[in-house]
């Protein structure tokens, strides 16, 4: 790997350095735009006591749900954790700690983490259990709560296309949390459907500039659909 060539050629290399107890920030919304092969590699490595920051926790047997099977996740920050029987069971048994976080606050915490903003005020959650214990301050006559940024030891991201330099574009609504996750990892790993040559992506149309990205891997994806809804 010389200069800015961030390609790796195995999932083992892609997740090299992940250890027990680390914090993982993951892109994806539901099962859309999730780094499915990077998650599978984390399962394969059997690392434990992970803290995961992700909007959802996959479903039974797919996505982050895979990491529940061997109880690899100790704590998760998420906005919605339904659709997963194993998760419910572990939550009820106190085998997993869940920090429910409003979706927009979660996105902004990741963005702030990557952007060097240690904390910000938001009206979201004021007066609710989410605001308990948090500093309250009035701005423009309205109470807001202080929320702190989040970063991870690893960020795992699913892109559509990337160049060797790690510039990434996302496809449709598979973008979701991925761009913020990409900024917030000490080591950011992006798996994509296609790696193209530098110069092929229009510079002003890049969603995640390569400066945020440490490793790029090309993979193939199942892209499971959670709620298939069609019209005739």
């Amino acid at each position: 790997m010389a200069g800015f060539d961030k390609r790796v050629f195995s999932y083992e290399q892609a997740m090299e350095g992940i250890e027990d107890g680390m914090t993982i920030i993951a892109g994806g919304f539901g099962l859309c735009g999730i780094p499915e092969n990077l998650i599978a590699e984390i399962k394969r490595r059997r690392v434990k006591d992970l803290t995961v920051v992700s909007n959802n926790c996959g479903v039974d047997g797919f996505g982050l749900g895979l990491l529940l099977e061997d109880r690899q996740i100790r704590k998760i920050f998420a906005s919605y954790v339904g659709e997963n029987a194993l998760f419910e069971q572990q939550m009820l048994n106190d085998e997993i700690e869940v920090v429910l976080t409003p979706q927009g606050t979660l996105a902004e915490k990741m963005r702030a983490g990557g952007a060097g903003i240690p904390a910000f005020y938001t009206a979201t959650g004021y007066g609710t259990p989410i605001g308990e214990g948090k500093e309250v301050r009035e701005f423009n006559g309205r109470p807001h709560i202080l929320e702190e940024a989040m970063t991870g030891d690893f960020a795992i991201v699913k892109g559509w296309k990337a160049d060797r330099y790690g510039n990434v574009v996302y496809r449709h609504t598979a973008q979701n949390f991925n761009p913020m996750a990409a900024t917030a990892g000490r080591i950011t790993v992006v798996e994509v459907e296609e790696i193209v040559e530098p110069g092929e992506l229009e510079p002003s149309q890049i969603h995640t500039p390569g400066i945020y990205v440490d490793r790029i891997i090309q993979g193939s994806f199942e892209k499971r659909i959670e709620k298939r809804t069609v019209r005739s």
Binding site: F29, Q103, P129, Q175, N176, I225, E226
Partner: protein
Amino acid sequence: MALTREQMAQRVARELEDGFYVNLGIGIPTLVANYIPDGIDVMLQSENGLLGMGRFPTEDELDPDMINAGKQTVTARPGAAIFSSAESFAMIRGGHVDLTVLGAFEVDQNGNIASWMVPGKLIKGMGGAMDLVAGAENIICTMTHASKHGESKLLESCNLPLTGAGCINRVLTDLAYLEIKDGAFILKERAPGVSVEEIVEKTAGKLIVPAHVPEMTFEESA
């Protein structure tokens, strides 16, 4: 008679204005999209990062990378924009969405809403609901007026943990359309055949009843 889910969606749809950006929650709010009045164009925002949600896809159009906040596969209408979750909630939190429609377990006379958590039951999370109620200036709650056992859900003060404080100003229940102002519910319309007395009886919070409370009307075909 109490409104059907479809009638509730129809009634909410009358609050839409041409050029509105609207976020529709899961359940009855989603149905509102089916009743957008003629001559009115609204742009649906889905908080996972889509402005300009279109119809459900045909089998041929089906794309796992194209979903809405309810995780259903959808399409984008021409002129749609797609963006990150941070950008999506910047829109929401920044007050750029004109109308938000979402369900609730309880609402109270001070505009508090509880919609995400029933202690003792399994908690699945608030998703984007807390951001939506904190960010929108214009929110309609859709809910049943009372539980199956007849207990009011329009309260003096919410019993359940809140989703947001002092942020709701309009409620559509299966029995009535109400506004919330200055610490009281104001009865604006009643469902066809539902008496003011029934609404009074099933409203635990402070209720202001004007001299005349019109009955909602629905077209037969709807």
